[in-house]
C-alpha cells in the first residue's frame, strides 16, 4: 500500500515539474496583478451586486454580468462584483462597493431595490442603477432618485408577439406556460403571452386554450424555484398530456426541462426566454425545438448605462426596453423559418408596428408605471 502511495506521489511530482518547466517571461516592468489590468486605463470602476441567483444563473444575473464584462473589455474600465447568497447581504454588499470607491453600482433584480435606494440616498456622489425595478417610497408610491437609474423592460410587448405566434402555430389548439416563482419579472412574460393568445383567437375565430396562466386572476403554474429542471420537465409533460404543443417556460435554466419533455413528444415546440435560446450552447441538442425566444437585452442596457456614465452623461431617467428601441424582441425563427406561414409572419410584423406606433398597448399589472 505504502509503495503505491510513494509511486503515485513521485508520478505527481514529475507531472508537476514538467508542467512547471515553462520559461519565465522577460522582466518588462509589467508585473502581473491579481486584479484585471485595464486596457485603455480609464479611471472608472463599475460594480455589480447580484441577487441570490448568483452570476451563473443562466438568466438575468448572467445577462447583467455579460454587459459588465463587455464594458470592461470595450471601455477599459475596472469592474468589481459581489454575489449575494441571501437578502440580508444586499445592504452589506452595496455598502462594501461604496467603500471600494465604485463610480457606478448596478444592482441586478428587484430584490435589491431597498439596498440600492438606501445606498443612492446616502451617497449622492456615486451613480447607481437597478435592473428590473423602479424605486418607491415608504408608501409604495414611485419616486425618482437623482443618482439612480432604473433599467426596465416592457417584456409583455415581445411576449405578446410570442403568444400570437404560439397560438397560430399550435395544431392541437392548446399552448402552455409556467414560471419559476410569481415575481413580476416572470409574470410579465405570462401576461403578454396570454394577451397574444387571446388576440389570435379574436382575430381568427379560433379557441386556442392557454394552460398554466390566468391573467385576470394573476395565478398559474409555478414550479417554485429557478433551478429544478426535473420539475420543469414533469410540468411540461403534464401540459403535453393535456394537449399543449407550444410551451413557454419562464424560469431561466429550467427551460431545458421543457426542451427535454418536448423532445419526447413529436411536434411539440418551446419558446425560450431572456436570450435567443437557439444560440445557447447548452441547448445545442434540442435547438430545433425552439420556435422563437422572448428576448430581453439586459446586457445591452447595462453596457449602455456604464458607457454613458463613463462619458459623464449619466441620467436618472429610467431606461425602458421596448420593441421600438430593441430592448425587448422575439428572436428569429431559425429552423422554423419555413414552417411559420407567411401570413402569420406578416401579421406579426403588423402587430409589431402597431405596438411601436402606440396603436396597440399591451397591459400588465407587472409592468412598471414609468415610461
Amino acid at each position: 500500500m505504502k509503495k503505491i502511495i510513494r509511486v503515485a506521489a513521485l508520478g505527481g511530482a514529475v507531472a508537476l515539474a514538467l508542467a512547471a518547466c515553462g520559461s519565465a517571461p522577460e522582466e518588462s516592468g509589467e508585473t502581473p496583478t491579481s486584479g484585471g489590468t485595464t486596457a485603455a486605463g480609464v479611471d472608472f470602476t463599475a460594480c455589480m451586486v447580484s441577487d441570490e441567483g448568483g452570476f451563473d444563473d443562466a438568466s438575468f444575473n448572467e445577462s447583467g454580468y455579460a454587459g459588465l464584462e463587455r464594458a470592461q473589455e470595450e471601455l477599459g474600465i475596472e469592474i468589481k462584483t459581489a454575489e449575494s447568497t441571501d437578502p440580508s447581504q444586499y445592504t452589506q454588499n452595496v455598502d462594501s462597493m461604496v467603500q471600494q470607491g465604485c463610480n457606478l453600482i448596478i444592482g441586478v433584480g428587484f430584490a435589491l431595490e431597498d439596498a440600492i435606494q438606501e445606498g443612492a440616498e446616502a451617497n449622492p456622489d456615486i451613480e447607481f442603477a437597478l435592473v428590473d425595478s423602479a424605486f418607491s417610497d415608504e408608501d409604495f408610491a414611485p419616486v425618482e432618485i437623482d443618482n439612480a437609474k432604473p433599467l426596465l423592460f416592457n417584456t409583455q410587448e415581445a411576449a405578446y408577439l410570442a403568444g400570437y405566434l404560439a397560438a397560430g402555430m399550435s395544431t392541437t389548439s392548446a399552448v402552455a406556460t409556467f414560471g419559476g416563482q410569481p415575481f413580476p419579472s416572470v409574470t410579465i412574460f405570462m401576461d403578454g403571452f396570454a394577451d397574444g393568445v387571446a388576440a389570435y383567437n379574436e382575430e381568427s375565430g379560433t379557441s386556442v386554450r392557454l394552460l398554466g396562466w390566468d391573467k385576470d386572476a394573476q395565478n398559474g403554474s409555478m414550479i417554485g424555484n429557478f433551478s429544478d429542471t426535473e420539475a420543469g420537465r414533469t410540468t411540461s409533460e403534464q401540459f403535453i398530456a393535456d394537449g399543449a404543443d407550444v410551451i413557454l417556460p419562464v424560469a431561466g435554466p429550467v427551460g431545458s426541462g421543457a426542451l427535454n419533455a418536448a423532445a419526447q413528444s413529436e411536434g411539440t415546440m418551446v419558446i425560450w426566454v431572456d436570450s435567443d435560446g437557439y444560440l445557447q450552447p447548452q441547448n445545442e441538442q434540442y435547438k430545433s425545438l425552439i420556435l422563437t425566444s422572448v428576448m430581453k437585452q439586459i446586457a445591452t442596457s447595462v453596457f449602455d448605462t456604464i458607457s454613458a456614465s463613463v462619458d459623464g452623461e449619466f441620467s436618472n431617467e429610467p431606461y425602458v426596453g421596448t420593441l421600438e428601441n430593441g430592448g425587448v424582441d422575439i428572436a428569429p425563427f431559425h429552423d422554423f423559418e419555413d414552417a411559420v406561414p407567411t401570413e402569420l409572419a406578416t401579421k406579426l410584423e403588423e402587430l409589431r408596428q402597431q405596438i411601436i406606433n402606440g396603436d396597440l398597448v399591451i397591459e400588465s399589472p407587472s409592468a412598471n408605471a414609468v415610461g
Binding site: 502581473p32 440580508s88 409604495f140 416563482q181 417554485g224 407587472s366
Partner: protein
C-alpha cells in the same frame, strides 16, 4: 428528584464510562485530545486548505506557476499576495478595518456580531436537540416560520414601542416552536423519524410562506412582488450603538438565551431529563422519565429559539420579509451547533466565527476578488474535520510534533 433513581446517571457528555480506576493520562495527552484543541486545529486547517484554493483560483498565481522552476519567486510572491489579500480582506470585513477612518474602523466587528445573532439562536436550539438525542434538521423551516410570524406582527399590528418588538418575538417563538413541535409530536406519538419529518417540514414551510407572500396576508399592498411591507419603526429592535452601526438588541437577547439554555441544560431538572434521554433513552424510561413528553418539549424549545432567530433577521436588520429571508441560516446553524459541541458557550463562539465569515465575505469579493464560494468551502471543510477528530490529529502538525514528547495519537480518546 433523583433520590428514587437507583443507578446514578453517567455524565451525559461522555457516554463512555469514566471510572476513577485507570491511571491518570499525561497532561499533554489530555490537552491535545480535548475538543477545544480539535476545534481550533480544524478551523486552522480549514483556513490553510482554503488558502491553497485561493492560490489555485488566482489568475496571477496560475500564470506564474507555468514557469515555477524558472523563477519560483514569482509564484511564491503571487501566491502570497493572493492569500494575504484574501485573508486581510476577511479580517478587515469581519474584525477591524485598518484602512477605514473613524467609526467605520470598528464597524466590521459589529457586523460580525449582527450576522451571528440568528445563527446563535438557532444553533442553541439545535444543540439542545442534539444533546437530547434528536437530530433536528428543520431549523431552516423553523427560522422561516418565525421570521414570517415576526414580520406579520411587525407589519400588521399597530402597537407602542416596547410592546411591539416583544410581541413580534413572542409570536416568532410560538410559531417556530409549534412548527418544530409537529415533528416532536409525530415522533412521540408514532415514532416517525424526526430527521425525515423536519426535512419535509422545511419544504412545507418554504412553499407555505411562498404562498402567503402572494396573498394579502404578507404581501406588500399595491405591489405584485412577493415581498412583505417593511415592519413598522415601533417593531424594530433598538439599535445599540447608534445609526452608523447595525448592531441591535438582538445580540444581547441571543447572549441571554445562551445563558438561559446553559441554566436549562445544566441546572434544571427538565434539562436533566433532556440529557438523560439523550444519553440513553431506555435507561431514562426505566428511571421513570416520560420520553415522548421530552421529545415534544425539546422540539418546542429548539423550534422557539430558531423562530426567534428568524425574527431577529427581520426585526434587527432586513425590515422586509421574503421567501429567501432565512438564507441558509438553518443549515449553517447545524454546523454552528456541531462546531460548538452543542454547548452554549461553544455555540456562541462558533456563531461568532460563522458570523465573521459572513460579514467578511462581501469585502473578500469586492476588494480581493475572492469568489463567495470559497467562504462556503471553508465552512464545509470545518464541518468535515470537526466530524472526525482522529483525522484532525492525523493532519495536525502540532499533534505530530508532540509525538516526540511522548504524545500518543493512537491512545487518544475520540
Amino acid at each position: 428528584m433523583s433520590t428514587t433513581q437507583a443507578p446514578p446517571e453517567p455524565a451525559p457528555a461522555a457516554p463512555a464510562p469514566q471510572p476513577a480506576g485507570p491511571p491518570r493520562r499525561p497532561y499533554l495527552q489530555q490537552v491535545l485530545d480535548s475538543t477545544t484543541a480539535t476545534v481550533v486545529t480544524a478551523v486552522f486547517l480549514a483556513l490553510l486548505l482554503a488558502a491553497v484554493l485561493v492560490v489555485a483560483a488566482d489568475p496571477a498565481s496560475q500564470r506564474a506557476a507555468v514557469y515555477l522552476f524558472a523563477r519560483p519567486s514569482d509564484f511564491v510572491g503571487a501566491a502570497w499576495n493572493a492569500v494575504f489579500e484574501t485573508y486581510s480582506a476577511l479580517f478587515r470585513g469581519a474584525v477591524f478595518d485598518y484602512q477605514a477612518v473613524g467609526a467605520r474602523r470598528v464597524r466590521p466587528i459589529t457586523e460580525t456580531m449582527v450576522a451571528s445573532v440568528p445563527l446563535m439562536l438557532a444553533g442553541l436550539g439545535l444543540g439542545i436537540g442534539f444533546r437530547s438525542g434528536l437530530f433536528n434538521i428543520g431549523a431552516q423551516g423553523q427560522v422561516l416560520m418565525g421570521a414570517a410570524a415576526g414580520a406579520w406582527v411587525g407589519v400588521a399590528l399597530d402597537l407602542p414601542i416596547v410592546l411591539h418588538p416583544v410581541l413580534a418575538c413572542v409570536a416568532a417563538v410560538l410559531v417556530g416552536g409549534l412548527w418544530a413541535g409537529i415533528a416532536g409530536f409525530l415522533k412521540a406519538r408514532t415514532g416517525a423519524s424526526e430527521v425525515i419529518v423536519t426535512i419535509m417540514l422545511n419544504s412545507v414551510a418554504l412553499y407555505f410562506v411562498g404562498y402567503l407572500l402572494t396573498t394579502s396576508v404578507l404581501r406588500q399592498p399595491g405591489s405584485t412582488r412577493p415581498i412583505s411591507a417593511p415592519v413598522a419603526d415601533t417593531a424594530m429592535m433598538p439599535q445599540l450603538l447608534g445609526p452608523q452601526f447595525r448592531l441591535h438588541l438582538g445580540f444581547v437577547v441571543a447572549l441571554l438565551a445562551a445563558v438561559a439554555v446553559w441554566w436549562l441544560m445544566e441546572r434544571s431538572t427538565l434539562g436533566f431529563r433532556f440529557r438523560a434521554v439523550g444519553a440513553n433513552q431506555d435507561a431514562a424510561r426505566t428511571a421513570g422519565i416520560k420520553v415522548p413528553t421530552v421529545y415534544v418539549l425539546v422540539m418546542l424549545v429548539a423550534g422557539g429559539l430558531a423562530g426567534l432567530g428568524g425574527a431577529m433577521q427581520i426585526l434587527g436588520t432586513d425590515r422586509t420579509f421574503q421567501g429567501s429571508s432565512a438564507g441558509s441560516i438553518g443549515f449553517d446553524a447545524i454546523t454552528v451547533a456541531l462546531l460548538g459541541r452543542s454547548r452554549p458557550l461553544g455555540t456562541v463562539l462558533a456563531a461568532l466565527l460563522f458570523g465573521a465569515l459572513r460579514a467578511g465575505s462581501p469585502l473578500m469579493q469586492t476588494s480581493a476578488g475572492t469568489p463567495i464560494d470559497l467562504v462556503l468551502v471553508i465552512q464545509a471543510v470545518i464541518v468535515l474535520l470537526i466530524a472526525a477528530p482522529p483525522l484532525v490529529r492525523e493532519l495536525s502538525l502540532v499533534h505530530r510534533l508532540s509525538a516526540l514528547l511522548g504524545y500518543d495519537r493512537k491512545e487518544a480518546t475520540a
